[in-house]
Subunit: 291 residues, 4 copies
């Protein structure tokens, strides 16, 4: 809702997300708090999960209140309803750490869109187990480090650097942009709910090495990609986004790889964008996406 | 929001849609009215139009209140904010009049899905300017009438019967399911906002007779369909839904017709479904679709 | 290639498909045979499988030759190259047996499109293990029989009737249009390469009962359908066609079912259409689709 | 068709495209020439245009023959049938001149994919009427020149440089990658059949300034892009490729622009790829695309 505020009064654009037990009066209560903060709701989405009995909401609010005042206005409501909540500024770039190996497609898409102003992230570091992408990062003015992961000790070094970087740059999201190493369960645990991975997807699914070759052998007609949260259960975390494209019998296994990479790029970038805009909420093993 | 009501208390599932001038406090006010009606909001969507300064909302509410009590609960709010509103029961079949000519594809899709329980409409009459579809209607147990429209007098008779039927069956929606006559401006006016038409769509658009032949001659790669509200400005009413599919140079003009018909069917049915579920609101020349 | 034949000479439109070992000169040889039959090639597709070393071709040929003469013209070539080949008339309706259970969506789509002239099949019988779809078949003027399959003896009766019907009606294709019983290995064997099944598809795949519920629990964003040849390896036969649609968190498990059914209908009908047009060839576990 | 050539004999991979009047025996004749050149056909597509009576074919042929010998082998056939033909090496990078203005999205996509080995072009020059994209070109190691086009004289200079560059670099394709100036009819004429443009597409189409604003005002549900050959009839040249994506009422006009740009990039790159692979043939106002 837009009103005409006094010209001299600056307005902030807040995004508030929260989760609580589903019960009557939540919308009335929170919208009352918004009124108290002299705010206008510019975007609103809600979802009641019949699976878990939880209520999810995302609000964008224009208000003259600063963070302290806004938080004070909503405090009685968040406490009464036992909400888990988060307050952010619309459009604020999310501090994002990118992990990569040798494949360029996902990293390039993230960096290009970030620079083009289409992706609200800032990337203080690309960390890779190879040096391959150093020039690409450099072109986009993004710091790059590589730590070889050829044995257990290298892997430990790499993961230690991940956690250091998370600390050092106050990282809010870790993106595995075709980082081809499995994270240790401990690291998965530490990054729970703030690490996103991308992998190829097929109908039907194929397990084991070289799935593109298997997909080719079986003659699949659709190939795609799935972006999901990282969990210690490999490739089984909550799904954020999926895409597919059509292929036919004339495609070689290596063409399937190229097609699949395009899907990986756009699917991962989309998932990161929604996450950075506070549009991804977790409901047990499912995601709520407030597009 | 779901609560556990006393088992003995029956609950209604209401859908409330409204439009008003955008201003602070609307959500708080209407959600307060819902609380007063002991209702739980199970689905909620809103949109502020920066083009027209209007605020649109659709709420689904479970409540023990009957219509009279629910209307009483919201009356102070709808009056204060000068809302144009509508209250309906979720899932209630919409009384729908189908106009047709000789093409079966759209009518068949509507009738099949209506019977399969996928489309919340009841169809008391299919009215056509030809007898071709009599058997189809009969199979689905839907009354059918035909009035030839071969001259101005026939056209007047047909349109008079449309208005009679609208009256007789208390029709809420008129669907032009490939009805191939242009409605008179007077009838368009009478049915404004409650008549939906379907037509083929091309990139780029083609005017004049036999657009499929033109599309073929130009070698278009996409053909599709647009469902829109009927206005006296032919094929220029507010758009409700659009779909396209890919075609290539090997398709003959008649194959393009068959492909286009599939798109027409699914696009029209989708538009009717959203309308029947009170998900289509008008904002000047645009539609707000609360999917 | 179109020429202007003498007006008095009738022309047939043949479709020739063949498979043989890949080697030089095949196209030259077969096109020479077409010239010998005074034929014009109106459509041609070929594929060399690097997996199996086999060469696949589909030709549409307009020719004044009758079947006997056409076969005589190509005989030297088919023998020299050891071709497995098939000669058919373009557009000839394929004799198709439909197996069904209680779900109407796939059967309705097949029958509607067959009657609308969009699907070149003739259906002498719908055979079901339930009586549910009797009226639907009747409306389309298609004979219907039901044989309960509640025990091993019923299953044997049903499968015996399948084989009888295949014999009686000279059936060329058996379509499992949501027939919910597993065929015996013997019947799969007997129908190898001429029976098509449809099943739902998810990313990732789900095994076991109620996959839609699993897909809902996991929060998948795409659901779809796969049409494939029937083999004794359940749901693992060569894939003919696949489609998916996008869904989100707000869809209930039962809505996923409805959406999935639409995909099943259109995917199965598409697969049947390609098969009836002699566009589906087998290359080991893969299909070659000459669209 | 693959044979096992003597290990010592090098093999070339040719792509032959031709057009001629449709008549009997063409396939037989050209495949005979391929046999004479000891070639194996690895890919073959043909199309008979009933609109223009012309026959189109694209062949990929593995052969030990060098260009001179291959041309000698096909000469009798191309002469007899009056073919317009072209012989190229599969995968040879096409010499491509890119014209640009200030928008980066299309240029970036072309350069990234070229470097990634997904697009068989070499780009000796990006020529722009602005300096904006100098750094982008530099990162990819591509020469960049800018010539301001602020008056008729500047425009003449720019177009003169285009023709010089075409000469200097033996350019085979000119890509207008969001070059925002209208080419003179003379230049269009000079580049006929070897210049590709990209523009946004809407259903329905919108003429005049700021089409995205018009599309927003009308509430379109699909926006897209069309890649086409440049002709002096603005935006009306033969269509090569089209894509669309779905949008809804919540998208601002500027969001529509961002979404449309993605479609422009991928549609233009796809069209360039097909052209570079000799898959785009002209049939009057239509294109034949041998994917």
């Amino acid at each position: 809702m837009n009103t005409a505020p006094a010209q001299s009064e600056p307005r902030n654009h807040w995004v508030l997300t929260f989760v609580c037990s589903d019960q009557p009066g939540i919308v009335h209560a929170i919208s009352g708090a918004v009124v108290a903060a002299r705010g206008n709701i510019t975007e609103s989405q809600q979802f009641s999960s019949s699976d878990t009995g939880r209520f999810f909401m995302r609000l964008q609010v224009e208000s003259p209140a600063n963070r302290q005042d806004f938080e004070a206005a909503i405090a009685p409501v968040t406490e009464t309803y036992g909400m888990t909540w988060q307050l952010d500024v619309v459009g604020r770039p999310l501090r994002t750490l990118v992990l990569a190996s040798t494949a360029a497609h996902c990293v390039n898409d993230l960096l290009f869109r970030q620079r083009a102003g289409q992706l609200p992230v800032e990337i203080p570091l690309v960390l890779s187990n190879h040096g391959t992408l150093r020039d690409l990062a450099s072109f986009y003015g993004v710091p790059f480090e590589s730590i070889p992961v050829t044995d257990a000790s290298g892997k430990a070094d790499f993961e230690r650097r991940v956690l250091e970087a998370v600390e050092e740059f106050d990282i809010e999201l870790v993106v595995l942009a075709r980082y081809m190493q499995i994270l240790s369960p401990e690291l998965c645990e530490r990054l729970a709910g703030r690490a996103i991975n991308i992998h190829h997807s097929f109908l039907p699914g194929f397990k084991g090495a070289n799935p593109y070759r298997q997909a080719h052998a079986r003659g699949v007609k659709l190939i795609g990609a799935t972006a999901h949260f990282v969990t210690s259960d490999l490739d089984e975390g909550p799904i954020i986004e999926q895409n597919v494209v059509r292929v036919d019998h004339s495609r070689s296994a290596s063409e399937l790889v190229a097609i699949g990479q395009d899907e990986e790029s756009r699917t991962l970038t989309q998932a990161v964008k929604w996450f950075a805009e506070d549009r991804v909420l977790l409901d047990g093993a499912r995601t709520i996406i407030f597009k």
